[in-house]
Amino acid sequence: MSAPIVSLRHVSVSFRGGWFRPAVEAVRNVSLDIASGETLGLVGESGSGKSTLGRVCLGLTAPTKGRLTFAGEAFGKLRARRGQLALVQQFPEWALNPRLRCGRSVEEPLVVLGAPARERRARVAAMLESVGLDAGYAERLPGELSGGQRQRVAIARALVTRPRFIVFDEAVSALDVSVQAQVLNLIGDLQAEHGFGALFISHDIAATRYVSHRIAVMKAGEIVEIGPRERFYGEPEHEYSRALLAAAL
């Protein structure tokens, strides 16, 4: 494990309330590091702030307090970080633009980056193959694919620019058991091959501990525990973590 690719120091995120509504503190004083080649699992319930934290790590939401550094430098503008970041979200039915062919969707981040056409085509074919889909899938429309297949195309798109950091936000929650297993294995294998840092956000502690190296437990905007995954196969330290584990298994 090398120097952290993403580093948060005392990050808080507050959303302004409207009229008659108090401000909401979604994230409170969170500090953590994610190294290259490491997956940090983030578990918690809905409303715990884990999705917001994911958005902060990608530069989509600016922290109200605290600092985010990426590869040792200040984050800067999202546009300037083109190609270094990627996101895979929960619902396979909306993961891909329904009007674009799969190959075109996977190619899109490369187009934004300005890569030449020949290189793009080669990369797209290679990526589809590495997620277990043969080259013919490039010509298909998302509507012709199953949920698991769409999610795999989304992963191919996420990896096509060889990003340094990927956020998986409930990426396997909507998938069947067997497909979930395939995708979890895929994430682990691709990370071993490409060495990206990853944040795996989920409410499913069983899936999270399978794919992560370390796990952080979040409650009401705060991290209550963070530790190696082995701990979550046995007995976690914090009582909230224990409760989550007990409820799931």
């Binding site: 990608l58 989509l60 999202l78 546009r79 970080r81 083109r82 190609g83 970041l85 990627a86 996101l87 895979v88 979200q89 929960q90 619902f91 039915e93 909306w94 993961a95 891909l96 633009n97 329904p98 009007r99 674009l100 969707s105 899109e108 981040p109 934004v112 980056l113 989304a154 798109r157 996420a158 620019t161």
Partner: protein, 286 residues
């Protein structure tokens, strides 16, 4: 344009099952063809005066009778169909483009732009179209231009609101956020990812707006503020005919019936398109 035609084509099979929609479509096609081919059909000259006795009732020679200047009324009604459709369609098409762009930008960019556009659309929406029509006609003078302007103002909020709403929903979807994370500019996201996916919503509103446009145009022309003689639209013909309602009712009846048929056919087709494009995707039931 394929993103507009594709959804409609894909559901063409529905016409066969639903006779009311099929009837509406047939009627609409018939009227459009009449309007388009009117000048070339052997039904008489719409502008030549004194081809027959004035205000004569329908007969073989003059299927819709003659008007107060002795013109055969049938070709004038056909001319009216043409004018009504063309005017409304042109106004609505233009408004759809502007409204869609405004709505999409407001819905995606949010912030101040959204506030201004959304509030302006709400204000516009709350004004009765006919009142605006009177104001504009008074300012600009009656005629086709003011009719187009009124239709545009009345239907613009429709498109802005619907497209804005669809854009808001789309903005949270996985593929949009993924594009943003990949570094795509807002213009690129709107053009490549949002625009092709709002086609369905626009198509549905188009038919609805067209029907509104036709009613507005007819109302304005009926009041004398729209199409001016010697041009004719169904509304102005109705105006013309209503002056002679008691002793030459066929003028008002024929133009009124054709106007009703035209609006009804647009509404029926609009309903069918709406039903066809209603989201049929649900979760799998097994």
């Amino acid at each position: 344009m394929s993103f507009l035609l594709q959804p409609v084509r894909a559901y063409a099979g529905l016409w066969r099952r639903d006779w009311l929609s099929a009837f509406g479509l047939a009627l609409l096609v018939l009227l459009i063809l009449l309007g388009a081919l009117g000048p070339y059909l052997p039904i008489g000259d719409a502008t030549r005066i004194a081809v027959g006795p004035r205000l004569s009732p329908p007969s073989w020679r003059f299927p819709f009778g003659t008007d107060e200047l002795g013109r055969s009324f049938l070709p004038r009604v056909v001319l009216g169909i043409r004018a009504t459709f063309l005017l409304s369609a042109a106004a609505v098409a233009m408004t759809a483009c502007i409204g869609a762009l405004l709505g999409m930008t407001a819905g995606y960019v949010r912030g101040a732009v959204d506030q201004i556009v959304a509030r302006a659309a709400d204000v516009l929406f709350s004004f009765p179209a006919l009142l605006i029509g009177l104001l504009i006609a008074a300012a600009v003078g009656p005629g086709e231009t003011s009719a187009i302007a009124v239709i545009a103002i009345a239907t613009l909020p429709l498109f802005v609101r619907v497209v804005r709403s669809v854009t808001l929903t789309l903005s949270g979807r996985g593929f949009i956020v993924a594009a943003e994370v990949a570094g795509a500019s807002p213009l690129r996201v709107m053009g490549l990812h949002i625009l092709p996916n709002i086609g369905g919503a626009i198509v549905v509103q188009l038919t609805y707006a067209l029907s509104i446009g036709m009613i507005i145009e007819s109302a304005l022309s009926f009041l004398g503020l729209g199409v001016q003689p010697p041009n004719a639209s169904l509304g102005s013909l109705l105006r013309q005919g209503s002056a002679y309602l008691t002793f030459a009712p066929w003028l008002a009846l024929s133009s009124g019936a054709v106007l009703s048929a035209a609006i009804m056919s647009v509404n029926l087709v609009g309903d069918a398109v709406r039903d066809a494009l209603e989201p049929l995707e649900g979760r799998s039931l097994t």
